[in-house]
Structure formats: C-alpha cells, structure tokens
C-alpha cells in the first residue's frame, strides 16, 4: 500500500515538471513582446525596457527557463504585475472561495447524479430512464456560461428568489473569519445568535452550485447507470435475489457498492475539472475565487499570475487524482494486491 502511494507520488514529479515547462513556453512563445503588449499605446522605449528587465525577458530563453524553474521549485511563483503582490498570497486569498463552491457543486453532482443513475438503471428502458438520460445529455452539452445566466434570469430576476451573484449580502458588512462563508455563517450563528449570515451564504451558493455542478452531475449519472447495469446482470445479484433478499437491499448494498469503482474515478476527474469550469461560473456569478482571478489576469495580460494560477490548478488536479487512486485501493482490495 505505502509502496503504491510512493510510486504514485514519484510519478507526480515528471507530470508537474511537464506542466511547468508548458506554462513557461506558453508565455515565451506567445507572439509579440509581452512587455509591449502589456503597456499598450502609451509606452515609451524606456518603460518597455524597464518592464522587460523586470520580467527577465532581456535574458536568453534558456536562462529564463532555468531561473523560472529554480524559483518554482522553491515554491516562489513570483509577483503579479497588476498588483505587485506575491502570487502565492493572491492564490491563498482566493482559494477558499473556489474550494467552497467546488465542494458543494461536487456534493450536489455526486448525490443527485448517483441517484439518477441508479434509478435509470433499475427502470431501464422506461420513460424514467429516457427522461433522465435525455436530461443528462442536455446537461453535458450545456455551456456553463449560458446556464449561469439563464439561472440568474429565472431565479433572481423573474422569480426574485435568489441573489444574482457574490458570496454574501453586501449590506450585511460582513468580515470573513475563515473565508469559507458557510463555515463563517455557522460560527457567527453560534457567536452572535443570528443565522442570517449562514442563510445568505447558502442562498448565494445555490445557483453557482447548480451551474457548476450540472455537467459533472450528468456525467456521473451516465457512468453510474452503465456501471449499475453491468453489475446488475452478474450472477451474485441473481443469487441474492433468488435468496429472497429485499430488492432495495440488493441494489444499494450489493450492486451499488461494486458499481462504485468507475464512478469514483469519474468523480475524481470531474472534481479536478471543476476548477476550470469555475473560471466561467465564478465570472458569471461574481464569485471572488481563483477561476475569476485567472480570467481577469488573462485579460490584464498579467503573465506571471496566469502562469502561477495554471501551475496551482494543475498541481491540485494531479493531487486529486492521486487521492482518487488511493481511495480506489481502499474500496477495491484487488487493486492493493496487484
């Protein structure tokens, strides 16, 4: 087991090395002089030269790469051009918002997705199945950006039920404690006796959660369905049924557990992908997280920030996958033995 994990950890190094190299080349090979592009119409020769020196663009490419690599290895992602702040700090400031959203989106996608998948599998080829799977197909193909705007239009503007964006009613003048707003809401409920912060946090979470969770939900539903169908045809299920065990017990206790393996893979992958989906969701819902920060940094041509952001998200993605692999061997002893 430990050997397995260590092996996986060792594999992380070349993967991340590849990511860092790609991210570096992405900027280095971008057309035009980044300094010139960043300064625009008002630049004079002196300012361009100064910015080039600041970015290290005046050095040979290979030397730039060496410098970049040595900094990243020391966990120094450099400073943002736009704000002059350490990029690591910029990320740390925004990560809680993104994680909170991604976490609830994943819970939503997993629970609803699995329920729908199992239902479809049991009622195979009935209208329930067709509707669910049809819906899943629509869900997968829905652009997040568009879905987000439609949700705001319907639930916020027309029905006037939920806020259009942000994380908390701005008129509450709330100071974050942990930066996880639901958690902060609970803390303040205990401390100040008012649940209004918690309610507001949850209200603000609902729409982005649905927008961000829809695609993973659809994928999880489809995977669960096909995996369940396969398991339901196996001999031990027939045996269980013929032994007179209640149907629900057969399905949830015996079948689902074994059908779970591919579903876990999908959940892991989707959780990683959620961070990139978050770029769009966070932008539509004015959610102050990492995705939106990267989006703004791209617009501002803040190259060090974009590089740092991508390296961070990639690392996170790789780590999630590692966690899934480990979980795998917990769920399925066969993998451990191999």
């Amino acid at each position: 087991m430990i050997k397995h994990i260590l092996k996986r950890l060792a594999l992380l190094i070349p993967t991340l090395f590849g990511v860092i190299t790609l991210v570096f080349l992405m900027i280095a090979l971008a057309p035009g002089d980044p300094a010139r592009v960043m300064l625009g119409e008002r630049a004079n020769a002196e300012q361009i030269a100064q910015l080039r020196a600041e970015l290290g663009l005046d050095k040979p490419l290979i030397q730039q790469y060496g410098l970049y690599l040595s900094r990243v290895v020391r966990l120094d992602l450099g400073k943002s051009i736009a704000t002059g702040q350490q990029i690591a700090r910029e990320i740390a400031d925004r990560f809680p918002a993104t994680i909170e959203l991604a976490w609830y989106a994943m819970i939503f996608a997993t629970i609803v997705g699995m329920l729908l998948g199992v239902t479809s599998a049991i009622r195979r080829n009935t209208w329930v199945d067709y509707t669910t799977m049809g819906g899943a197909l629509v869900g997968v193909s829905m652009p997040v950006f568009w879905l987000g705007l439609v949700l705001i239009m319907v639930f916020s503007v027309w029905l006037n039920l939920l806020p259009t964006g942000g994380r908390m009613n701005i008129r509450y003048y709330f100071t974050p404690i942990t930066n996880f707003y639901v958690l902060d809401g609970i803390i303040l409920w205990i401390k100040e006796g008012t649940p209004k912060y918690l309610w507001s946090a949850i209200q603000h979470l609902l729409l982005p959660t649905i927008a961000l969770g829809t695609i993973p939900l659809a994928i999880i539903a489809r995977t669960t369905r096909s995996s369940m169908l396969e398991v339901l045809q196996q001999d031990y299920i027939k045996t269980a049924r013929s032994a007179g065990i209640r149907e629900k017990r057969v399905i949830y206790r015996y079948a689902l557990k074994n059908a779970l393996l591919p579903v876990i893979t999908v959940i892991g992958l989707q959780f990683g992908l959620l961070l990139s989906g978050a770029i769009l969701t966070e932008t539509v819902f004015s959610w102050p997280g990492i995705g939106r920060w990267i989006y703004i940094s791209i617009g501002a041509r803040d190259y060090p920030a974009v590089q740092g952001g991508i390296i961070f998200i990639s690392t996170f993605f790789v780590l999630i996958n590692l966690a899934v692999d480990i979980l795998y061997s917990v769920v399925n002893p066969k993998i451990r033995l191999q």
Binding site: G32, E41, D93, R94, I152, T164, G165, I170, S286
Partner: protein
C-alpha cells in the same frame, strides 16, 4: 448508506425552500423630505488594485480612491476644465515657473489630523524624492507617465496654508495634472502609521471615509460628515465587483445595485425601454482614427488625404461597428474637451468630391494601398477589423483598392511607431483632460520621431508652433484660442481620417439623482443622492 442519502435529499430540498422565505433586502428608512440618506451600490467590472492612487494606473483603482481623497484642483463635474478644490486659489509667476497654491483652512483628514502645506509637500515628495522615507512604497507609475520628473523641480511649504511648486520648464497643462488621481493628498500621519498597509487602508480628506475592502467583492465607504465641499448625501457607498456585463445588467434589473458600469452595447436598447432605468451617457475622452502616413506615397499629397476624408463615411462605420458605443469624430479632440472647435465643418461623405480630388492629385484611376487594422478591441475602436472592412468597401467606390493588414498587438504597435505603414488605425485615451495631452502627443513634430506617437508622421511647423505657444501660456482663454487655430490647420491638412469617439453609458435606477459622468473617466459620488 440509504439513510445518509435520504437525509441529504431532505436537506437539499428543504434548505432552499426555507431560504426563499427570508430573501429580499431591507429598505432604508430615512427622512423623506431631504436628499439625505441611503446606501448606493455601484456595480463595476473589476476590483481596485490598491487604494493608494499614487501607485496605481487603472481606472478601477481610481474609482475607489476618488471617494476617499481630494486633489488641490479638481475637474468641473462633467467637464475637462479645472476648478479649485483643496486649494482655494493659485497664482502663477510671470515666467510661468512658479505656482503658488493657497490652501483651504480647517480641512481635516479622516483620521482627525489637519490638512496643511506639509501634507501637500509630503504627498508629492513621496513620489519623486528618492530619499523620502516613503518613496520605497512606490513605484509611482503615473508620476512617470505624466513626465512629472521633467516638469516639477520642487514642492515647498511657504507657510502652513501656502504651497509653492517650482517647475523645471514652462508647462501650462501641469495644472490639469494636479486634478488627476495620482496627485491626491494623503494623510502623512496615516502613511507613517500604516506604511505598506496604507494602500489597503486609505486616509484622505474626501467625501467618503474608507470602511472595508473584501477583495474581488466590494469596498464600503461611509459619509464624511465633516466634508469641506458641502453635504454628502449618501450614508454609504458600496463599490461592488460584477465582472460579467450581462450579470451586471441582471443585478441592476433585480435592484441589487443602483447603477452599473460598462454595459454591453447590445443590451443598451433593452435598457432604454426598461421602466425605472435611466441611461446616463457621455462621450469618452478618446479618439479613434486612421493615420495617413504623410511620409509615404500617395499620402504625402494633401489632396489625396482630403479625398480619403471625403471617401470614408464615418456614419456608416459608427453604425456598423460601434453601435451605441460611439459617435462620429471630426476633430482630433473629443467634443467634451475645452477648446474643441465645433466651427469646423465635417468633411462628410462625398464620393464625387473624393474622385475629383484624386484626379487633381494625379490618381484618376485610384491606387492600391495597405489599410492596417488593430487586432484588439479598444474603447475608441471596438472592432478595427470590421471598421477596416467597411472602409475597404467605401474606398473601392472611389477606385482605391485597400488591402487589410493586421499584426499581433505588440508587433502592430512596434511597426506603426516606426512608420512601416501606409495608413494605420489607432487611437488615444486622454489622461488629464488637457488638449495638449492629445494634440502634442499625437500630432506635434517632436512626436513624429520613432518610436512615434504621431504615426501620421505629419510635420507641420505652424501647427507645432501653435501647440508650443499654448504649452507656454498659463492663460486658459489664450490657450483655448491657440488650440482652436491648431484644429483648423489639422482639418485643412488632413493627416488623419478621424473616425469616432466612444460613448460611455452608465445605466442607473431612476432614483439615482445628480450622477454626472466625468470625461476623464472618474466616477464621482459626492453629490449623488437617492430619491426615496
């Protein structure tokens, strides 16, 4: 397992339902008879970088700092002329090298410390005296952008309420620079106390006191009850970040915000017909143009340049490419800038006249040319490619075959400022509201030396002399006359085909009163009130 799923389902269904009950925002009760009171929320597209205006260069940062800080002189609301602010008045020495400012007495910073000459000296010296204890809190970028190192020699406190600026050269636009945000007066006590953190906790003399800043989300300000410039009506001002333009519009419709910045131009017709929404509009302080390289054939010939002006129909271009976000230009200056010469008659669209001029210049059968279009959207030109296509069709009608050329943005700027083009589109956004900031940078002879700001490479002695004279004259009325004359020469010589100025639109609830857009791009709330 089953139980867990059941509980979660119930939670998922019940929690939102419970939430729906306690939704809407509370109304603010206040004295109904006065303009006083209320919370105003402004939905804007991006967050401030920091709240110290000396350090920053972006409009979003200035939105916030303008609320907290004042300057010695300020722009007249809605105009580019300047008026007294923290300085009651000022005198200029006969040689134009000394400006003496008489400061307003009794003004206090938000931290209670007095505003005085020492604070003014502090606010400026920190930006250029390298041995100043807080110089290292920079970089002081705008100081560099406005070339202040080559303008200001010294700032001296004459007495407690008198400050003298000693200049290195005669530079009339200098006074307009002092109305810009980077010239804000900061509390020396607060800077000394907070150091690096001052940029997150600004202390000034402005209409609003800084309360809190949640990054990427909102900045909250409270009314400064002791404001020197008359009553501030709003109890609170909140700048809320909503990056997506459609989301901003939805938030305004729902009433979560009271006014919004930068609507997408496709939404504007719908906004106009929405009840309870007003559109506040003003021309932006910019110009988009097609520069004709006067050093290259055939644009070395004035007649050809004039023909181009007749052949290109700006009205069609604005309708096709700008929509609601633009208005036709006839001068290099935007129409809301002082000294804008409205007596100049637009060339207008006249294909026959264009052909006639071309024939006179020896191009009866037209010619082939390269038409350079920028690869990026700018406020003064949202879609240069589309503009180029419309121009191409218009030019074809008079026998000119234009081939559209574009490069990646950085390369485009490099090539144009070296003069590699025949005719290239570009534009400019003004900083300080002074005509010099357009005419000198874009059309003077010194600006035609590569890397050039004058990408028509137009070298007109008479024109440049007028500008130089205006630079050296402190009297605003005289300067006004000189710039008007300069525009006449520009029109006759036609080094550009001026295309358009952007139009800035701020949609707001009808209840928002006395909000005025500033040409310089500021968003100022000190006189705004809410109808209750």
């Amino acid at each position: 397992m089953k139980k867990a799923i059941l509980i979660l389902c119930v939670l998922l269904l019940v929690v939102p339902a419970a939430l729906f009950a306690g939704g809407s925002t509370e109304a603010v009760a206040s004295g109904a008879d006065s303009k006083m009171g209320g919370v105003l929320v402004f939905g804007r597209s991006g967050d401030s970088v920091s709240l110290d205006p000396g350090r920053e260069t972006d409009g979003e940062s200035f939105y916030a700092s303008t609320a907290v800080f004042d300057t010695l002189v300020e722009f007249v609301p809605g105009e580019t002329a300047v008026q007294p602010a923290l300085a009651k008045s000022w005198d200029v020495s006969a040689n134009g090298l000394e400006y003496v400012f008489h400061l307003r007495e009794g003004v206090k910073f938000h931290d209670g410390t007095p505003f005085n000459a020492e604070a003014v000296v502090f606010s400026f010296e920190r930006q250029f005296k390298q041995d100043h204890p807080y110089y290292n809190l920079g970089p002081w970028k705008y100081w560099g952008y406005m070339d202040m190192d080559n303008i200001v020699k010294e700032v001296v406190a004459v007495d407690d309420l008198t400050v003298k600026f000693i200049l290195k050269k005669v530079e009339a636009p200098f006074i307009a620079n002092l109305a810009m945000d980077f010239a804000s007066i900061v509390s020396p006590t607060a800077v000394a106390k907070l150091g690096e953190e001052f940029k997150n906790n600004p202390v000034g003399t402005g209409a609003f006191k800084f309360v809190s800043w949640t990054k990427d989300s909102d900045i909250v300000f409270d009314r400064n009850a002791d404001y020197w410039g008359g009553p501030v009506y709003l109890d609170r001002l909140i700048l809320k970040v909503i990056p997506d333009a459609t989301s901003r519009w939805l938030a305004l419709q729902k009433g979560e915000v009271d006014l919004i910045d930068f609507p997408s131009s496709e939404d504007i017709p719908a906004m106009r017909s929405t009840k309870g929404i007003q559109l506040i509009q003003q021309a932006g302080l910019n110009v988009g143009y097609l520069a004709l390289n006067t050093q290259k054939k055939p644009f070395d010939n004035k007649l050809v340049r004039q023909a181009m002006n007749y052949a290109i129909d700006q009205k069609e271009i604005v309708e096709g490419a700008y929509g609601e976000a633009g208005q036709v230009a006839k001068n290099p200056l935007p129409p809301n800038m002082w000294s804008y010469n409205d007596d100049i008659e637009d060339y207008g669209y006249d294909a026959a006249k264009a052909k006639e001029l071309l024939a006179k210049a020896g191009y009866a059968n037209g010619f082939k040319m390269e038409l350079w279009a920028m690869p990026v959207a700018r406020p003064y030109n949202p879609d240069a490619r589309k503009v180029a296509e419309i121009m191409q069709a218009q030019l074809a009608k008079v026998g000119i075959q234009a081939e559209i050329v574009s490069y990646e943005w950085g390369t485009y700027l490099d090539k144009t400022d070296q003069g590699e083009h025949q005719a290239a589109m570009l534009g400019w956004t003004g900083d300080n509201g002074d005509p010099d900031n357009f005419l000198w940078v874009l059309l003077s002879e010194p600006a035609a030396i590569p890397p050039a700001g004058n990408i028509a490479f137009w070298k007109n002695r008479e024109f440049t002399d007028l500008l130089a004279k205006a630079k050296a004259t402190a009297d605003q009325a005289q300067r006004d006359t000189l710039y008007r004359q300069a525009q006449v020469i520009f029109h006759e010589e036609a080094p550009w085909v001026p295309i358009a100025h952007s139009v800035v639109t701020v949609p707001a609830k009808d209840a928002v009163k006395d909000f005025v857009l500033y040409p310089t791009g500021k968003r100022v709330f000190k006189h705004v009130w809410l109808e209750k």
